[in-house]
Symmetry: C2
Subunit: 264 residues, 2 copies
């Protein structure tokens, strides 16, 4: 099987223009099939605020009401997606911007209301991901760049967590490619001491993850990422590395000493 890398970049990279530009240049220099998934950064919150719309977050997740789904679709699938694709293509990449809506790439359902009504937030129907579209784009030498927006079967737009999209795509593609999932953000990896940026944990086994979460080594902000990483490994992804966007080249080339590797 051919190799494939699925890379997620976080909002702090998207919000930092020089960091984003360097990351995209580096990414375009990496050979072979790759898929980029991006989050949204602060742009949606800033636009909401300029429009006088209050941003409501519960447990780090955005409550997506009627106005907010319009705003996140505009910013994520519109400005951020096209800005990234335009920059990649200017750097010699061959990128195509998509969302989960397009060609039914990532079918989703509206999250049922239990304790919290998240509004227009979706859960991915993982068995229905359009892997044949991705395979044909990758075979044509294109890099899909995916915004975290999808829709219901009856056409209502939904906001989807970008970490979860990256994990679901990596799992879905792992039957067709030997797939690596790379979570890129502004830190060097999962830190054993949040105040020491050099205290990277080089390797976390799935069996250790629960303990590290329970004893507070993995802070609350990192828990969804670790959970997604463990799920990816359990479901057939070859490797997951969490590391710094600046180190994308050594991480993608599997150099030791970069990022935190999640393994069986």
């Amino acid at each position: 099987m051919k190799n494939l890398i699925v890379i997620k970049i976080g909002g702090n990279v998207i919000d930092d223009k020089p960091l984003l530009d360097k990351f995209l240049r580096d990414l375009c220099a990496i050979d072979g099939p790759k898929i980029l998934v991006h989050g949204g950064g602060k742009l949606a919150t800033e636009l909401s605020s300029r429009l006088g719309i209050e941003t409501k977050m519960v447990e780090g997740r955005r409550i997506t009401d009627d106005e907010t789904i319009r705003i996140v679709t505009m910013t994520y699938a519109g400005f951020i997606n096209k800005t990234i694709v335009a920059k990649m293509n200017a750097c010699g990449g061959n990128a195509i911007g998509l969302s989960g809506v397009d060609a039914r790439l990532i079918p989703a359902a509206k999250r049922p209301v239990k304790d919290i009504d998240y509004g227009w937030v979706g859960d991915i129907q993982t068995g229905k991901i359009n892997t044949s579209l991705l395979t044909s784009l990758l075979s044509a030498g294109l890099t899909p760049v995916i915004a975290p927006i999808s829709c219901t079967a009856d056409g209502y737009l939904l906001n989807i967590n970008a970490d979860t999209i990256a994990q679901s795509l990596a799992v879905a593609m792992s039957g067709l490619y030997q797939t690596s999932l790379l979570y890129c953000f502004e830190r060097k990896g999962i830190l054993s001491d949040i105040s020491d940026p050099e205290s990277v944990i080089p390797r976390i086994r799935i069996s250790q993850a629960e303990e590290l979460k329970a004893n507070g080594t993995i802070g609350s902000g990192m828990i969804p990422k670790i959970d997604n990483a463990c799920l990816a490994i359990s479901d057939g992804v070859s490797q997951v590395i969490i590391g710094r966007s600046d180190d994308i080249v050594p991480i993608a080339n599997n150099k030791h000493g970069y990022g935190t590797r999640i393994c069986q």
Copy 2:
């Protein structure tokens, strides 16, 4: 050669939800390869106004400054494009939303400043349109839905006239498909009397167009559309019909008595 229809829908259709919904349902029921190009409607102007940004128009064209290119990218390539694609896929279509940026679909250059500085407005590099991407998407049964945004070779986003995109795509594809170009808007066709919605001119020859423009029969608002239509016919497009979005099915099926046909 197979048939292909390239359809452009205007802003007045996009702004009218019931009209847009009916048009998209009808479009999905039409068999065979098709490409949809959409404009922007009032959403960009409304968003600009809510953000306190003045909309500047010169001769019906939007002056696109730094803030405006962000707004049109958000609204056209983000909200409008994904709303249309989600609706089409909910109606049994198989749509994929793209802009000129994606996979270098529609390379463009910033319009040189002469008398007027249009800002981030682009002119299409017609010889460089990525027809192989469109052909492979159409062969896979997908309907490309294209937002009128592109970028320069060095990655600066540009606002492009949607009528011109439709014409350029139809011309570029006419070497590969027998291509019809359909301009769909809220009227039944080009009217000989603007106050009489039934006064449709059934057929305009290229040789007549200049006269009809000069004697005022073709009003100033319709001139860019007619110019694009004549250019398309001169450059190899099989037929151009200007008609009502509500009549898309009979127009696409070449029924007589619908729309204004531009011919040699």
